[in-house]
């Protein structure tokens, strides 16, 4: 890559758009009663309908419609009062009917938006449409170098995934984000994922393919209002890849344009390992999908009352929650983002609900506990400690029963499943020594052993007392309250 992303941004303005496919977490498939468990024995969750056997017919899963409406409402879309499914026709072995039941010119949800925050700034991403469709089966191409069908010795197809309900969420093109384009795209997918998770409509696991992104990128010359030809990058399977794919495509297209070339409208594949995209199908050889209304299904006409009752049942959405928590916890936007990016919002909120102060809850979850989770390679919420337990630890510290060092040991104990914080304190004998008489012996020893320090303190260098405090803390195995020790030393030397 001879043109860097930074250099490209000097001459061109990127415009991006995203098409996100989300597998809905319905118990059964889109058009039949088969199960949807991820990772089941290949072809064990199939029936005549999702295998597309001759004579079989689809029946729409009402829950999938409800989930799609929830998504549409959460993304501020209008919900169609009447819409239809359409057939998208093309031949591929993992598609049992050689057509996919999708929606074409009559999507269920249209014209919405999602606000995303990047670096303290809010960008409104327009949502063009949200529509429902069925997933295809999954091919495993065996032999051959690329893992793709060309050059493979043979291919195996698992139809468990065929017929799983998908929603496709299509943004409008997003111009004007300049240098931040990759970050905005990533923030959009992150925010969308949070919305979907909050709605409970999908497990949104990019690594399992339940959330998949295609990224459209084009460049326009700086100062020009004419958008360039876009490419569609597929196989973008992580948040980081969303960012990298756009950076890579911006740099590549800039190089093409710099050389006087023309960007070709085509599908490109993103490679996680190298971070670059390579050419797939071009528009010239693109398929004609011959869409037409699916005659095996009747139109979907969600009653207004139903849509209203779904709207009324929506949980608090991430944007509303953000505003509420920033206010309640007196956070800056950046502090909030740090919490959200750490995946700690729920646990912090629960810890506060159990009595901890916002500052304490954030301190423990973003500090000590985040470090432990990171070491273990798990989410902070997956640690074997409850928000109530963390609140109790904070309470013990506030009451002076524990100091921070002891509190960390209590947390160790809880994480090692030794019991509740109080049980760990008792079992390990970790309470701060609060009996002054028990400390005075150690203080006198420290004073006797450090005459030079004592002299400096008496000459006015009060900060030298730290040495004596340290010495006492060491002698008491860290169980003393350091502030109280300091007070006692100063009284002794007064």
């Amino acid at each position: 890559m001879t043109v860097s992303y930074e250099a490209a941004l000097g001459r061109y303005e990127p415009v991006f758009g995203l098409e996100t496919h989300v597998e809905l977490g319905t118990r059964t498939k889109m058009f039949c009663g088969c199960g949807t468990t991820f990772g089941a024995e290949p072809n064990s969750q199939t029936c005549p309908v999702c295998l597309g056997l001759p004579g079989s017919l689809p029946v729409v899963n009402r829950v999938a419609i409800e989930f799609a409406i929830k998504i549409g409402l959460a993304l501020n879309c209008s919900i169609a009062s009447w819409c239809r499914f359409a057939r998208k026709n093309y031949f591929y072995p993992d598609m049992p009917k050689n057509f996919q039941i999708s929606q074409y010119d009559e999507p269920l949800c249209v014209d919405g938006y999602l606000d995303v925050a990047v670096g303290g700034k809010t960008v409104r991403v327009g949502i063009e449409r949200v529509h429902l469709e069925e997933d295809t089966g999954k091919s495993l191409h065996v032999g051959g170098a690329t893992g793709r069908i060309h050059g493979a010795e043979y291919s195996l197809v698992d139809y468990n995934r065929a017929g799983i309900p998908l929603v496709e969420i299509v943004t409008r093109p997003v111009p004007g984000t300049g240098f931040l384009a990759p970050e905005v795209a990533r923030a959009y997918v992150t925010e969308l994922r949070d919305v979907l998770r909050t709605l409970g409509v999908s497990d949104v696991r990019m690594e399992e393919g339940s959330l998949r992104c295609d990224v459209n990128t084009s460049l326009s010359a700086r100062g020009s209002s004419v958008w360039g030809t876009r490419t569609e990058t597929k196989n973008v399977n992580s948040l980081r890849s969303v960012e990298r794919a756009i950076r890579s495509e911006v740099a590549r297209q800039a190089e093409v344009l710099d050389d006087g070339g023309r960007v070709i409208q085509e599908t490109r594949h993103f490679h996680e390992d190298t971070g670059v995209t390579t050419s797939g199908r071009s528009k010239e050889e693109a398929q004609d999908y011959r869409y037409f209304p699916e005659p095996d299904l009747v139109p979907v006409a969600p009653a207004e009352e139903w849509v209203k009752s779904i709207a009324a049942s929506l949980p608090e959405l991430p944007s509303a929650r953000r505003a509420r928590l920033i206010e309640a916890w007196s956070l800056s936007e950046l502090e909030f983002e740090a919490l959200r990016n750490a995946g700690a919002l729920d646990v912090v909120e629960a810890t506060i609900a159990h009595g901890a102060s916002p500052a304490d809850a954030r301190k423990w979850w973003l500090g000590e506990l985040a470090r432990r989770a990171n070491d273990a390679g798990i989410d902070v919420s997956e640690l074997p400690i409850t928000p109530a337990q963390v609140a109790r630890v904070a309470e013990l510290v506030a009451a002076g029963t524990l100091n921070d060092r002891l509190a960390r040991q209590v947390i160790d104990g809880v994480l090692d499943e030794e019991g509740t914080p109080d049980e760990v304190v008792a079992a390990r004998g970790l309470a701060v020594v609060s009996d002054d008489s028990a400390l005075l012996g150690a203080i006198d020893e420290a004073i006797a052993a450090n005459p030079d320090v004592v002299a400096r303190i008496r000459s006015g260098k009060v900060q030298a007392a730290g040495v004596l405090v340290g010495s006492v803390m060491k002698a008491t195995g860290g169980k003393a309250d350091a502030a109280r020790v300091r007070e006692l030393i100063m009284e002794r030397l007064a």
């Binding site: 001759p54 004579g55 079989s56 017919l57 050689n98």
Partner: protein, 497 residues
């Protein structure tokens, strides 16, 4: 035994209920008949002799045990070979599905089995129901029992021929553009296209999803009604199935009465191309209805003349998509050993016949980007106009009548290489399919020119299927009285005895 095969389903049912004959004897008589004549008629692609006898014996033992049995218990039914059936192959008359044994049962055959009907075998058809003569079958044509050199109509020609040849008292067919009514007419029997959505399509291999309608064949109006009632009703597995009570067709068939009924004669269905003998019998039937107290008027349906071209855009478009799944990947024929793409192409080239390929190409073209609006889109607009014609007509009359098909049975081979001539056989039946309402074909006599049967078509609004039977039963009774015997007694291609 011979008299068993000439009995109607209603008569057989009564005889079995009275203990005069067993279901096993009834089934054996029909299996014997098939063995005796089907090498000439070639109505069946598969005869399930052992399974049929086992079903019959089960009915007999249930009857002996005093279990309640429905009217079709022990009555043999022949099944068009595009209903999926357990224990029998389902080929759709196509080499591409030769030997395929579906792992599931269609809703309708399941209902019939549950009602104790004996599924005696699978009948021949034009490949994927595309045709009007059964000559497009991948396994050879069927023959008309009236004249073995003539076609039995199509696409449900095997079912119609089986009933007309006394190989089964009842048969299942499907009607997409006339595929029940036209073979019923040229074989001199009764056939009904129910209201679209009145009979389940689950397990009926699709030709054109928005048109395909399963329906019954019988030698009498009452028999057709008995099967119609048994096969119908809401099916949650078919989204286009109507959730409404089955119209009282059996009741209507028992009480043929047209006094005061308003009947409209469709003026568009006459003139050039209509065989004089067919028109003569049709006109007589209308006069007969008038003499029975019906009020007959002429009704113009100006858009019906566009029905045929609209149909030949809509049906092939849907078919091009429905038939995409036959690619050699999962079931049926597989040709070639190379890449997936190559196997798909070779399988489809080898497995589909010429007419199927013609329609797939036609439909693919009509749906393609840039042509959709001019072809598929325009055809759907015509469809709306045809529905409006029907709505306007049914504002004035209770039923419409016309000939079923412009001619009597034509010679085998005559139209095989002339698709346009073949398509004209469905001229009068297609509007009903496009509109989704109901129609019946009932025999109205023999054409003078060739002594072959002609049919009267009666059309009713959606879910008014009972009106069809009311009119058909009146015509049937009056004509039988005039002739002194059922029309089929005159069939000369085969003798019943």
């Amino acid at each position: 035994m011979d008299e068993l095969i000439t009995m109607t389903a209603a008569e057989l049912s009564a005889a079995m209920a009275a203990g005069e004959v067993s279901a096993a004897e009834v089934t054996t008589a029909h299996l014997d008949r098939i063995a005796a004549v089907d090498d000439k008629v070639r109505a069946f692609l598969h005869v399930a002799a052992d399974e049929a006898l086992a079903q019959a014996r089960e009915v007999d033992s249930k009857r002996q045990a005093g279990e309640p049995l429905g009217p079709l218990a022990g009555v043999p039914v022949a099944v068009k070979d595009l209903f999926t059936t357990l224990g029998m192959p389902t080929t759709c008359g196509s080499k591409i599905l030769e030997g395929w044994r579906p792992p599931y049962e269609s809703t309708i055959t399941r209902r019939l089995r549950d009602a104790g009907a004996v599924l005696i075998g699978k009948t021949n058809m034009d490949e994927f129901a595309m045709g009007s003569s059964t000559e497009n079958s991948g396994f050879g044509a069927s023959h008309n029992p009236w004249d073995l050199d003539k076609v039995p109509g199509g696409s449900s020609g095997g079912s119609a021929a089986a009933v007309a040849a006394y190989e089964a008292p009842l048969a299942l067919g499907t009607d997409t553009g006339g595929s029940i009514r036209q073979p019923a007419a040229v074989c001199g029997i009764v056939g009904t296209k129910p209201t679209y959505g009145g009979s389940s399509r689950y397990g009926v291999v699709a030709f054109a999803s928005s048109l395909d309608t399963p329906g019954p064949f019988g030698r009498t109006v009452l028999d057709a009604a008995l099967l119609h009632e048994a096969m119908s009703g809401h099916d949650p597995m078919d989204s286009t199935s109507i959730d409404a009570p089955v119209p009282p067709v059996v009741e209507a068939a028992r009480h043929g009465d047209v006094a005061g009924l308003r009947i409209g004669v469709v003026t568009e269905f006459s003139g050039d191309g209509y065989q004089p003998g067919v028109m003569a019998r049709f006109t007589e039937a209308v006069e007969l209805l008038e003499s029975l107290g019906a009020k007959v008027t002429e009704i113009s349906c100006p858009h019906f003349k566009y029905a045929l071209p609209a149909y030949y855009l809509i049906a092939p478009s849907e078919a091009s998509s429905n038939l995409a799944r036959f690619d050699g990947m999962r079931y049926g024929l597989r040709a070639g050993t190379g890449s997936a793409e190559e196997v798909m192409a070779l399988t489809r080239a080898a497995g589909f016949g010429a007419e199927v390929k013609r329609r797939i190409i036609l439909g693919t073209y009509a749906l393609s980007s840039g042509y959709y609006d001019a072809y598929y889109g325009k055809a759907q607009q015509v469809r709306t106009l045809i529905i409006r014609d029907f709505d306007a007509a049914f504002g004035q009359v209770d039923v419409l009548v016309s000939p079923v098909t412009p001619t009597t049975a034509f010679p085998l081979g005559e139209r095989a290489d002339d698709p346009m001539a073949m398509y004209l056989a469905d001229l009068c039946t297609i509007p009903t399919d496009l509109a989704g309402n109901a129609a019946i074909s009932v025999p109205c006599g023999l054409a003078d020119e060739d002594g072959l049967p002609a049919g009267l078509q009666v059309m009713a609004p959606p879910l008014a299927d009972d009106r069809l039977y009311r009119v058909a039963a009146a015509v049937e009774a009056a004509l039988e009285q005039r002739w002194g015997h059922p029309l089929l007694a005159e069939a000369k291609g085969l003798t019943a005895k």
